[in-house]
Every structure is written in structure tokens, then in C-alpha cells.
Symmetry: C2
Subunit: 276 residues, 2 copies
């Protein structure tokens, strides 16, 4: 408390609690601008680094803030609770949306995030400038075997589960490029697994191309996938793949920080991971 003279603290007249106000402002700005370092944000608020770190540690101890990488912070698991985000899907959607929105404008593509539910892909997030051009909708379910996101998600299923899937359905050809034979699908998935990313070259819709990469949890399991789509624009650019992977990593980090409950997805596995 060495700054008695100067104290134009925004527009608060909430006297007798300046310290708390400062702490909250620090937290809000830190979570709002995840790309800036703690020192920078603290400097903006005229908070010495020493004090800032002390404050931060309290937010961390209450689960309101989490470190994701060095010098990077994000909202912690407690905010999900406060916000009422109880189920996995809405948690993923909420946490990934800002990241995907940024990615969408960066790549000038429509970005999707999807999870596997009942052998189908459920789209949780759709972000993009001209996203109305695509027929997809958040909450919509689509077949998994022909979309980029679907391939990523299927590629991480354990063998038993995959065999069941490949044996269960009839795989209709949505376009002339759709892979419909179970053997060919299996082969495609192996390629996807090896590459770490997947393409959809007009297999769902003519002149619709997309690239997809996995979002993994702390154990390396694939819990979701994100894709970049373009109409009449092939997406096999490696720079694009890298950008996707980068964002997927950010989403993973945020989910990890949130301590999200991944148990719902574990039944995809052979039971090697403890089920709920």
C-alpha cells in the first residue's frame, strides 16, 4: 500500500474494497485476453508482478484459474460450475468456441467441432464468417464414416468397437466419392490414424472439402475433433493442418485445465481406463 496519491481505479466508487476489485479485474482481464502474459495485464492495472502472482495463486487454489503452459492462463474448472456447465458437451462447446472463432477468421473457413454419439457425429460448435453456406447446424447429427471429423473420431475407437460399427450399418454413398465398403473405411481410418489428420474430399456433399484433426484429453484419447471446411476449396494445405492442430491443442489444454469429466467417453475404450 505504497500508492496513496494515485488511484483512478476505473469508475468504481465501491470504497473499502479496492483490493478485491483489483484482484477481480486482474482475473477478468487475464481470462478475457488469454494471449497476454500475466505481467502485461498486471502492468495495465498498475499491479506489481509480485502482488499479481500472489493474487493469481488464490484464484488458482479455488479452481477459478488454471495455468495452461508457461505464462498462459485460462478459466479454471470452477467457472464451469458457476456458469452451470454440467455436461461434457456444453463444456466443450463453451470452452472451444472462442478458440474456434479465432481460427475461423484466421483461416477464412467454417470450423466445426464434433463428438461421437451413438455412432454418429454430433456437431457442437460451428463458427465461420460465411457459415450459412453450409447445411450443418449445431446439434445436428451426421454419419461418421464419410466426414472428416467422423473419421478422426472413428479412428480412435478400439478394435472391438470399430468392428461392431463397421459390421452394424449400411454405408450409403452420399456422393460419388463416398467410401462405402467397410474394408475401405477401415483402411482409410488406418491412414488417418497414421497421419494424425483426416480429409473429406467431397464425400458428404459434392464440392465440399474439409480437413480434420483430433482433440485429445489428458490420456491422449480422442474426445472430439475439429475441422475446417470449404466449398469448392480443397483443404489439403499443410499450413492449414498445422493451424488446426494448434487450435486443437489449445482446446485440449483448456479442457485439461478444467478437469473435465471425460468418463462419458471412456466406454469407447476396452475398459483399460476406469469407467465412471
Amino acid at each position: 500500500m505504497r500508492t496513496p496519491s494515485e488511484a483512478p481505479w476505473s469508475q468504481d466508487h465501491t470504497s473499502g474494497a479496492a483490493a478485491l476489485a483489483k484482484a477481480l479485474d486482474l482475473w477478468l482481464r487475464l481470462t478475457a485476453e488469454p494471449d497476454r502474459s500475466l505481467r502485461e495485464v498486471a502492468a495495465d492495472l498498475r499491479i506489481p508482478a509480485s502482488t499479481a502472482y500472489r493474487l493469481i495463486s488464490v484464484f488458482e487454489s479455488r479452481g477459478l484459474l488454471a495455468r495452461i503452459g508457461s505464462g498462459k492462463y485460462a478459466a479454471g474448472g470452477a467457472v464451469a460450475q458457476v456458469a452451470g456447465l454440467t455436461d461434457f458437451n456444453s463444456l466443450v462447446a463453451a470452452m472451444s468456441r472462442p478458440i474456434l472463432r479465432k481460427l475461423a477468421s484466421q483461416l477464412a473457413r467454417t470450423i466445426h467441432l464434433g463428438v461421437l454419439e451413438e455412432d454418429m457425429v454430433t456437431y457442437l460448435v460451428k463458427e465461420g464468417v460465411h457459415s450459412e453456406l453450409l447445411f450443418t447446424r449445431e446439434g445436428m447429427q451426421l454419419e461418421a464414416y464419410c466426414s472428416g471429423i467422423g473419421k478422426i473420431l472413428l479412428a480412435d475407437l478400439h478394435e472391438q468397437r470399430l468392428s461392431q460399427y463397421l459390421g452394424s450399418g449400411e454405408f450409403v454413398a452420399l456422393t460419388k466419392h463416398t467410401i462405402t465398403s467397410p474394408d475401405q473405411i477401415r483402411e482409410e481410418l488406418e491412414t488417418v490414424r497414421a497421419l494424425g489428420y483426416a480429409f473429406d474430399n467431397a464425400e458428404v456433399d459434392e464440392d465440399l472439402y474439409c480437413a480434420a484433426v483430433p482433440v485429445r484429453d489428458g490420456n491422449g484419447r480422442v474426445v472430439a475433433a475439429i475441422s475446417a471446411s470449404g466449398k469448392n476449396t480443397r483443404c489439403d494445405d499443410l499450413g492449414l493442418i498445422e493451424a488446426l492442430k494448434q487450435s486443437a491443442g489449445e482446446v485440449s489444454a483448456r479442457l485439461l485445465a478444467l478437469g473435465a469429466v471425460f468418463s462419458r467417453h471412456i466406454d469407447d475404450r476396452n475398459g483399460s481406463v476406469a469407467a465412471e
Copy 2:
């Protein structure tokens, strides 16, 4: 700072920031247990009411807390930002889910919350003990004219918009009870508007009954609807309607507190409310 001796403050050794920790704990418990009064929660934490109110006002000033009614508090709009809840739908879903979950177990029914999108009902929340018995899914879209939620939402459309809707489509009979004539639908909607609630007596699915009530924004406009459904169980119990209305009011209050952006829904109106 008159309590020098006693200070078994949970399990924090985050020394030098006890005040902040106390403040955050107060906030967390207040948002986690919305039914308890501030004085109660504060007493639990050994915080005198006087101090508690001062702390609270800071959270309020930062938008992290909002008063909903007397002695009732809920997470404020800023948490939605921190949590990354940017769009209206996920905001509504997140904020209403805890309330609807409680309602579902209270009524022993499956509860839905839906909004109107492109003349269809989009289900944002589905909560209930035996919810797997129903064919609905979050994110699913259904025709509006035959469901309870749909009727509520349609009943609030302005005349021009409603005429357009009634004139546009063909209304297929999903069951023998489905109302399919535009004139009869209009009549039904007028009844709904007068009553303030709507029924679906096996109009979507045989032996599926439901009752629905509106969720309104600060201007009284209907922005969503919630319903209680039962298989082979009629839902015209007035106690049930009251419980629904009660929860709808809570959802409304929370949305209001969040300062949610309702502009997306305003184009349903004649322009009497300022558009974004």
C-alpha cells in the same frame, strides 16, 4: 480484522491473501447454493454480514454476481464471458440446466427447453430421470405447430410473422390428434396466449403428453419455452403448471441478471423493440 486468534480457513496456505480467498469462497458458495441467503452463507464462512455485503457489491460491480429477487443471488453476465458462453443458445442452456434438472426430479417428468429457430423448435436442454424413453435429443429440431413448446413460442409471434408461418407450410398430421388446419392452429394459439400455457395431447407422438410454459425476457417477450413430458401420463395438472411457471420464472430471472443479448430474437417482432 478483529479475529486474530481463530482462523482455520479451510485448507489454504495461500498466506497474504486471506481476504481475497474469503471473498472468492463467499462468491462461490453464493452462486453454488442459490437458495441460501447471503447472511447464512456469510455466517458459514465467519464473515459478518456487514463485510459480506461490501464484498458482494464489488462482485456485482464487475458483473460477476447479480441479484435476482430479494436475498437471491446468481452468477452475473461476466461469468458467461469468462466461461466463453457467447451465443444466446448456449447461454440459455447453461443457465437453465440446473434449474430444469431440479424441476425434472421434482415432477418426475422429462423437462425440455426449446427456442424457435427457422420456424422450428430447437431443443436446447433435455433433463429427466428416464429421459432415454423419449426420442428427443438436445440440438434436435421439431415442427413447432404440434408440440407444447412450439405452441408457446408461436403464440408470441407478431401477427405478420404468424400469418407468414401459417401460410407457408404444410402441416402434416403426426398422430390422429395433430391439429393441421391453419385456422385451427391459429385458434389453438389464441387459447394458449390467453391461458399462458400450452398442452400437447398426443399430437406429436401417440401416448406422449406434455405441458409447456413461456420463458420471457425483460420486455415480456417469449424467448424460450419449457415443458414437462410424460409417456401415457396426461399433464393437465394445475400443480404441474405452477411448478413449470415457477421454474420458468427462475430461468427468466437468471437470463435477466445475465444481461443476455436478446437481439437475435427481436426480428420476430414488428420492430417495436429496437433491433441490434
